[in-house]
Symmetry: C2
Amino acid sequence: MNEEYNNEDLQVVDEEKVLRVKSTLPKDELIFDLAELFKVFGDSTRMKIICTLLEEELCVGDIACITNSTPSAISHQLRVLKQSKLVKYRKDGKVVYYSLDDDHVKQIFEKGREHIEEI
Amino acid sequence: MNEEYNNEDLQVVDEEKVLRVKSTLPKDELIFDLAELFKVFGDSTRMKIICTLLEEELCVGDIACITNSTPSAISHQLRVLKQSKLVKYRKDGKVVYYSLDDDHVKQIFEKGREHIEEI
DNA sequence: TGAATATATGAACAATTATTCATATATTCA
DNA sequence: TGAATATATGAATAATTGTTCATATATTCA
């Protein structure tokens, strides 16, 4: 943000409107968290991982195989998905199985798909 | 993607599963488009713009004022939102009014908020 | 215990991108 | 017509980020 810029330079078209909308805005923190959440969906590799996990629980190696990626790249991205509470995991010996954490992922995915397909 | 890496190096844990999930994956193009769509939601400035437009139609200058940003930055980001068909606009003289293009934006926003707030 | 395997992770590099600044375009109105 | 205003946009810069590579950790099993 340009620290020099002062919005008072603007001739606001509708000052009342501006004040009203400003007062209804969610807290900056929520807006930031929402952006961070959608950022996680905003990468092809992670979106592919999500698509595989929509089907069933899978281990890292299998996800890598299905998505034509490397286990390392997948592991890095699973970490991101984990941090956003989008996936959970269970360990079984050497193998770590990942699955979607809750139904929001599927719902967000579906809403996105609806938007894409209705254009 | 590492072109050298060959997934045949992996000892796939469950080959049948891999083939089954692989066959149900959406086309690469849809996955890519979905990631591109969510990428648009994945920026604080754009998320703020979306929040303002959830309330009502607004012109560029008013959005800039409400979000404490510059008209230039807002205009750049509105372009991105426009390209994803998330916002539409109408001109009225010098002023351009932007609004959300359809209800998907609100729905995606709400699903995201639900996820955030239920953690 | 030691080799093999699955996954995780840190550092580096390359690519993407948001903002700024300068400027261009479009519109109004005196 | 020309000044003022609203918006748009291109280029440059700074910051973020995804992948790779090397390596570390954890687990199994011979």
